[in-house]
């Protein structure tokens, strides 16, 4: 690093950005997910998390099996009517900020099971941010969904604390 390179940096050694962008950057690259695994999609989740299609390189590698310690709820697989209260409880126990990803068509819309036992999509229970279709989705689709979620996190609304101070 020579003298003139340092001179070319704006204002010396500072970069200016919005606080919101910085927050979005920090949040999106350190996602701790809670894999709420129920069914077959769990196998593709395991593949996506392991060596060949690593999600760790996107910052989302570590699972936290506690709602309090995680910020992304990854609902993997079919949710039945019996499981629905459990999902709702887990979602409510998570702390802000939190995002929900519906993984697989059973979580998105009930999938091929349109009967007495299956909830037709988890958006009937909890609000969903990203829907990843597929039965089961290929790991590349999962990574694509993760990138979309990261984009969404980057462009989220400014933090409420900053909003209040402005007005």
């Amino acid at each position: 690093m020579s003298e003139d390179k340092r001179k070319r940096l704006p204002a010396g050694q500072f970069i200016t950005t919005q606080f919101n962008s910085l927050l979005g950057w920090a949040r999106k690259f350190s996602l701790f997910h809670y894999p709420f695994v129920t069914a077959c999609c769990g196998m593709e989740y395991m593949s996506a998390a392991c060596a060949h299609y690593d999600i760790d390189r996107f910052g989302a590698g570590w699972t936290r099996f506690s709602p309090r310690q995680s910020d992304m709820l990854l609902v993997v697989g079919t949710i039945t009517q019996k499981e629905a209260p459990v999902l709702r409880t887990v979602y409510e126990q998570m702390t802000e900020p939190k995002w929900v990803v519906a993984f697989g068509t059973c979580a998105v819309s009930g999938g091929i099971y349109d009967n007495y036992a299956v909830v037709q999509g988890i958006d009937q229970i909890i609000p969903v941010d990203v829907y990843i279709p597929g039965c089961p989705p290929r790991p590349e689709t999962v990574l694509d969904g993760l990138l979309k979620l990261q984009e969404k996190i980057q462009h989220q609304e400014p933090d409420w604390r900053w909003k209040k101070r402005r007005s």
Binding site: C50, H52, T78, T80, I112, V118
Partner: protein
């Protein structure tokens, strides 16, 4: 709700809920434990969190359409479920499957069985803390799934094995990919055995833990690797051989004590035997009769040509259209017109083919087995996977019941963990290979 234990629990003990959202990645089962310190006094297992109404849904689908539902039963070895269902229907109809298709079926279901055991032992090892074993086994599973994907089109839920044969033939580079997958799997198995077999921690957690005696195992209806770990030699592939298993050389590994370590060892040895079967099947498979492919015409052109004159040689349609080499069909699908979907060349170019297609897919027509009931079992990853179908002569099954092997194995969980520590629940449960889709249907 685990009502029995809630009623029976004493005041001075602790109730621990290992709830439906389970970190042990077996999905959805709830084990409620009554503890005195760390010792388990009483336990109750609650299932049904993945009950997806498979049996009732199947009463509303035709025999052909319900094939994807069978994939999602034991989702770690989907091809074996396909096979079980399809062979039950074929038994009812009396369909003769060509020999090459039988070899392909054996090959694919053994690859599926290896993935099943790999996943089960990977999860069991990971929950005991051996995360490396999990990653290694997932790597091997990826190679196997590559082979499956290149043949069937999908990594997991394939719907590949159809009534009368299989969906598509093996592609030209199959042998190379298979050889690579087998090599990688053998390396991984060697590595994992080196990591776990003599590992003091793993042995302490699995040796002499949750011992099951032979009489109890039979009384509980255990089959498969869990039964063989107690010393009872019952394997459906040897006892009631189906497909070409009786022509191949392989053995059935047995355990001695029926503890967790024996269940682990039996599965490891079974994987090696399955690799033997795969190698033999790949060598002994009868050659396919690929006929000469005519110089490619565009599909519309080809159909027009065929209407003008009776074309004597094969028409090469676009490779995206199914069945673009009709000559391969006698290898892999039974020739009985009533039970298989005709190839697209026939459907698009001849009136008989069109009527055949129409009669296969129209509501009320199609596969209509004679009235009666049938039971057929194959050796699934967990044991005897049986299908009981009651047919009333229409194109939909009247009743379809699955004999799920892990249902019986998990029903013994309460008896196995009685009096043990909380930490023993994890390897015990892991070695049972509970698969929610099969348990709860």
């Amino acid at each position: 709700m685990p009502n029995r234990i809630l009623k029976q629990a004493r005041q001075d003990t602790m109730l621990l809920n290992m709830g439906p959202s389970h970190p042990a990645m077996h999905g959805t089962i709830r084990i409620m434990l009554e503890l005195d310190g760390e010792r388990i006094l009483n336990s109750e297992v609650e299932v049904g969190y993945l009950h997806r109404g498979f049996e009732k849904t199947c009463e509303h689908r035709t025999y052909f359409n319900l094939l994807p539902y069978t994939d999602r039963l034991n989702y770690v070895s989907p091809l074996i479920n396909n096979l079980g269902y399809v062979m039950t229907v074929e038994k009812m109809l009396g369909v003769e499957v060509p020999e090459r298709a039988q070899y392909i079926r054996v090959l694919m279901s053994e690859l599926s069985r290896i993935s099943d055991h790999l996943t089960c032992l990977a999860a069991m090892a990971m929950e005991c803390g051996a995360f490396t074993a999990f990653l290694y086994k997932m790597k091997a599973r990826e190679f196997l799934w590559d082979v499956i994907e290149q043949t069937t089109g999908a990594r997991m839920t394939t719907s590949y094995i159809r009534i009368g044969g299989v969906r598509a033939d093996l592609h030209p580079g199959f042998d190379t990919v298979l050889k690579k997958a087998i090599e990688e799997t053998r390396l991984v198995l060697k590595d994992v055995r080196g990591l776990l077999d003599k590992n003091k921690i793993f042995l302490n957690r699995t040796r002499d833990v949750a011992v099951m005696s032979r009489e109890d195992a039979v009384a509980f209806g255990w089959t498969g690797p869990c039964l063989r770990s107690t010393g009872v030699s019952y394997d459906v592939r040897k006892a009631h051989p189906y497909l070409v298993y009786d022509r191949l050389n392989w053995e059935v590994p047995l355990g001695e004590k029926g503890d967790n370590f024996d269940r682990y060892m039996v599965r490891m040895k079974e994987m090696e035997q399955s690799l033997r079967i795969v190698e033999q099947a790949a060598v002994r498979i009868p050659k396919s009769c690929r006929a000469f492919i005519a110089e490619g015409m565009a599909p519309a052109q080809a159909i027009k040509e065929s209407r003008r004159q009776r074309v004597r040689e094969d028409i090469a349609l676009s490779p995206n259209l199914e069945g673009s080499e009709e000559a391969r069909y006698p290898d892999i699908l039974a020739s009985d017109k009533g039970y298989v979907v005709p190839p697209k060349e026939e459907t698009y170019t001849s009136i008989e083919g069109l009527i055949n297609h129409f009669k296969f897919f129209m509501r009320g027509h199609g596969l209509r087995p004679p009235k009666g009931d049938v039971y057929f079992a194959v050796e699934g990853g967990n044991g005897e996977l049986g299908f009981y179908i009651v047919s009333d002569g229409t194109d939909r099954p009247y009743r379809l019941h699955l004999r799920a092997p892990c249902f019986h194995i998990v029903s013994a969980l309460e008896a196995l963990i009685q009096g043990r520590y909380v930490a023993d629940v994890i390897p015990t449960f892991g070695s049972m290979n509970m698969i929610g889709g099969e348990l709860d249907r």
